[in-house]
């Protein structure tokens, strides 16, 4: 029972103190003398943190792209036939095919009458039955428990154990979420407190996935930037972490450290040594570790391997394993599934204080439950077809095809972009993006500044208008002062990607020429 609510409702006698502090409705006179009322909700009365929220991935450049699409469809003439949205990590929108088995099971769950349809394989049917049995009323339409369907959480725990070579995972530490974003924002909510110099500071990588900066802005937390090392393939340096935290202690209370591995937008895959160092650092500086691992299956470069924070933590022995507080996040939106629209995800929470855990449960219960189809999908991701099962062959084939296509495209992107003078692209070791550095001529920088635009936004806008290609400027993710980048996904089908890369090349050459 919620005692907070009890207190609220019991406080019936609201003190009725002296004069009203509510101002009179403000009447405004417009130019021609007609009275017009000011709104209740204006920029000035609005929650001020909202003003600070920005999300470049769907920001002004995307809005312009959507406008251009509309103009194209209305027959307006453009220097391009279609707008290519290489801004967002949305695999299916770019033509990636879903995994057949997953969709079959979900269709069976949606409309169980199909269980009598002989075109569905037996293993899909038995999975569907198992999922439906754990749903209220045997329907995906019911609410689930706030923490997520029990049997799914258990399957997730087993998956994590297998992935991490046997390191134990307690299903109680698993929370199903609405995409990873939901889990990340919830954890940040818990972490934010204090005022002024004791206000929570959260360390985030630069460049970063702008959900973090947006969430921190909305929550009113302090953003602590640590720079990834572009010269060393976007690696994470402990000395840089140390610098950032030392400086931050002067004006806030650093309490959390966010790592994205494999990285977004940078694509770097952290070495095992690096992860150990980060864990030691977090332990020493007493920071809550947030490990965003949604791209864990997207590892392409030779010599690179995904190491989960959880596994490394436990292999470092009880001194760390029993003390460092860690939340790791996964999602159904990336990897080989690419099912962004299902909003499936989970987080595993290690070493969290029990009382805080209760609060977390309460927080989650307010939003009732994550979408059930997403939970069902997560169940299939952690529990895919096994050797011997009817769907195994096609599953492996599809998964391999998708992942190897991505690996190929990662290599292609790096290669082509590096042939362009003025563009330099680090190897895309993992994830779904390239984040090349671009040289922007002084003249262009000047023009941009005069327009009040970031130079790379100016560059990207021009590219959009001239080629129809929509990218996100590096300023949306953060970058070292005086450097410029853009983020481009590697998701379009290979032939389209080749065209895209060539167009980018041509544009860059033209642009450089124009502003020389």
């Amino acid at each position: 029972m919620n005692h907070g609510t009890a207190l609220l409702w019991k406080r019936r006698a609201l003190s009725s103190l002296s004069a009203t502090r509510r101002g009179l409705p403000k009447e405004k006179m417009s130019e021609n003398g007609i009275m017009s009322r000011a709104k209740v909700l204006t920029i000035d009365t609005m929650n001020p943190t909202v003003k600070k929220v920005e999300y470049a991935v769907r920001g002004p450049i995307v809005q312009r792209a959507v406008e251009l699409e509309r103009e194209l469809s209305e027959g307006m003439k453009k220097p391009f036939a279609e707008v290519i949205k290489a801004n967002i990590g949305d695999a299916h929108a770019m033509g990636q095919q879903p995994i057949t088995f997953f969709r079959q099971v979900l269709a069976l769950c949606s409309y169980p009458e199909l269980l009598s349809d002989s075109t569905f394989p037996e293993d899909a049917k038995s999975r569907a039955c198992r999922i439906l049995q754990s749903c209220g009323g045997n329907s995906m339409g019911s609410y689930s428990a706030s923490q997520g369907i029990d049997s799914v959480r258990q399957d997730v725990a087993r998956y994590i154990e297998r992935r991490d070579g046997g390191v134990a995972c307690d299903p109680d530490n698993i929370y199903l979420t609405t995409g990873a974003s939901d889990g990340i924002v919830t954890m940040l909510k818990l972490l934010v407190c204090g005022e002024g110099t004791t206000r929570t500071g959260v360390m985030i990588p630069i460049p970063q996935y702008p959900l973090y900066s947006a969430a921190l802005a909305e929550l009113g937390a302090v953003q602590i930037d640590y720079f990834l090392n572009e010269e060393k393939c976007w690696s994470l340096d402990i000395t840089e972490l140390q610098r950032a935290v030392n400086e931050a202690r002067q004006y806030c209370n650093p309490r959390a450290l966010c790592i994205i591995n494999p990285g977004n937008p940078t694509g770097q895959v952290q070495s095992r040594q690096c992860i150990e160092d980060v864990i030691r650092f977090a332990a020493k500086e007493r920071l809550f570790l947030m490990a965003d691992e949604v791209y864990q299956d997207n590892v392409y470069a030779e010599g690179c391997q995904f190491h989960s924070f959880k596994k490394v933590l436990f292999e470092m022995g009880p001194e760390y394993a029993e003390t460092v507080e860690l939340a790791s996040f996964h999602s159904t939106s990336k990897c080989y599934m690419g099912e962004c629209g299902f909003r499936g995800g989970y987080m595993e929470i290690i070493n969290m204080d029990n009382e805080v855990k209760d609060q977390l449960t309460k927080l989650l219960s307010v939003r009732l439950c994550p979408p059930v189809p997403g939970q069902a999908l997560m169940d299939l991701v952690v529990n895919p077809p096994q050797p011997g099962e009817p769907s195994y062959g096609s599953f492996i084939k599809e998964r391999t095809a998708t992942l190897s296509a991505l690996a190929e495209k990662a290599k292609l992107t790096e290669q082509v972009l590096n042939t362009v003078q003025g563009i330099s692209c680090n190897p895309v070791q993992g994830a779904m993006y390239s984040f090349p550095r671009i040289t922007i001529p002084e003249k262009a920088v000047k023009e941009a500044t005069e327009k009040g635009q970031q130079p790379d936004m100016f560059y990207c806008m021009k590219m959009l208008e001239e080629t129809g290609i929509c990218l996100v400027p590096g300023s949306g993710f953060g970058q070292k002062d005086g450097t410029y980048h853009f983020r481009m996904t590697i998701l379009p089908p290979t032939d389209k990607l080749k065209i895209l890369l060539n167009k980018v090349k041509e544009f860059h050459q033209r642009f450089t020429q124009q502003y020389s």
Binding site: K85, D90, A93, R103, G137, G141, P210
Partner: protein, 442 residues
């Protein structure tokens, strides 16, 4: 255990709508478009829906919180709630860009309205009784919930004088900026469309932002009762109200039965009327960063607003299934009213809308005292009643204090959207438990 604590129809055993499920299944697994197992209109509809998904897949994430579908605009214009067609239509076409997919929860969380740093603190007027999650959401955002009491004697009617009193009570405590209305109510069933006019006038006079939760708009049972949206009332009132009162109204697939009670899909929408265009820009950003809406949920919403029509192959079955649900609900509502009112120390207003009954327990002071002493943890009498009812009667209900009630009154809340035989069993257990309880604590 009969679980009627939440408004979850499928859990309680109500059957989903065939057409909706067929379309959703085919959207998830498109090869079904060629399957003779599905009726033609379901297959065609699937193609339509997939045609709107970028890449033709429900796995795409482009459709976040932003309403980008042209069809939605058309649907809104054809909205039978349109009322005075001309004015409403103009307003609708202007406002079509102001629809956002979201659940009510996420909307509140990103509520631009609630200025955490304001001093005095922001206040929101909320009805008593009210869904407890709303209160929690408001508190979470650092605002103050200012209660206004619905009148139980008048079947939980909303009275403007009470709104006035509530506003007065907030003086010196907080700065009320919004008025939250549930229409039809939760848990209290009656809806206040008849006084919608008065409420809008009040909001206009007192400069309050209207937040109207209309997720139960399809659940209206009373004879001669008709759901009238606040949006419609507002537009019919004409200027100065129609062009100035700021309104956000919410709908959801979780509670509508003209669509599907798909709580598990977590989909809904909010319509924003008369908001400051400068603010709309920020709201747009807020919705774009945090996509909580599944594509399947949005499709379910579309199916809800544009169901099979007469002549379509699925129409008859669809209509039959809807009628069945409606019949069950109307029947349940009557039975609950009958049975509860026949029991001593128990009374229930006519349930004219919504999915819950909120009957009142009349406990004597002696009974209350005894209950307090017996309760292990100094529980409220209604919590005590509900706990006992669960343990001895096997019926899971919610105690009134969780939703708010006048001091000294006690209620329980339970969902009435269960199959008829389950309702009969529920009422049988409730009656027998209640008689025993009243005897033990007389």
């Amino acid at each position: 255990v009969i679980d009627v604590f939440q408004g979850d129809l499928h859990k309680a055993g109500m059957k989903p709508l065939t057409f909706v499920r067929q379309v959703l299944a085919a959207c998830v697994y498109p090869p079904l478009i060629n399957s003779s197992n599905l009726p033609l209109d379901a297959r065609q509809r699937t193609q339509e829906e997939l045609g709107r998904c970028v890449g033709g897949s429900v796995g795409e994430g482009n459709v976040c919180g932003l309403m980008t579908w042209k069809k939605m605009k058309m649907l809104v214009v054809q909205d039978p709630q349109g009322g005075a067609e001309k004015t409403h239509r103009t307003q609708l076409s202007l406002l079509c860009d102001n629809y956002y997919f979201c659940g009510f929860g996420p909307w509140l969380r990103t509520q631009a309205l609630l200025n955490r740093e304001a001093s005095p603190r922001t206040g929101v007027l909320i009805p008593v009784p009210c869904h407890n999650k709303t209160v929690l959401s408001i508190m979470q955002l650092g605002a103050v919930a200012v209660p206004y009491y619905l009148s139980e004697e008048q079947g939980w009617a909303l009275q403007v004088e009470e709104l006035q009193r509530a506003l007065e009570s907030a003086k010196g405590v907080c700065n009320p900026v919004a008025l939250y209305i549930i229409n039809p109510g939760n848990p209290a069933g009656i809806y206040s469309s008849q006084c919608g006019d008065q409420v809008i006038r009040f909001a206009w006079e007192k400069r309050l932002f209207l937040l109207v939760d209309e997720v139960y708009q399809d659940c209206v049972y009373g004879e001669n009762c008709e759901f009238v949206s606040y949006k419609r009332t507002l537009s019919e009132m004409g200027p100065p109200f129609s062009g100035t009162v700021e309104l956000a109204s919410f709908h959801s697939v979780s509670k509508s039965f003209s669509g599907e009670y798909v709580c598990g899909l977590r989909a809904g929408y909010v319509e924003l009327v008369n908001l400051d265009p400068a603010v709309m820009k920020y709201i747009h950003t807020l919705f774009s960063k945090d996509s909580c809406e599944t594509v399947l949920g949005q499709i379910a919403l579309d199916l809800m607003m544009d169901p099979p029509k007469p002549g379509d192959p699925s129409y008859l079955l669809y209509k039959q299934e809807i009628e069945q649900i409606r019949t069950v609900l109307v029947h349940n509502v009557k039975r609950v009213h009958e049975v509860v009112n026949s029991l001593p120390g128990f009374s229930c207003s006519p349930i004219e809308g919504g999915l819950f009954a909120f009957p009142r327990l009349h406990l004597t002071p002696k009974a209350i005292q005894k209950a307090k002493v017996t309760a292990e943890m100094q529980e409220d009498p209604d919590t005590f009643y509900c706990t006992r009812l669960l343990e001895e009667g096997g019926v899971f209900t919610g105690p009134g204090w969780e939703y708010g009630q006048k001091e000294g009154t006690y209620h329980i809340r339970f969902c009435i959207a269960v199959p008829q035989d389950v309702m009969e069993e529920l009422l049988r257990r409730l009656s027998s438990f209640h008689m025993t309880f009243m005897k033990d604590f007389s």
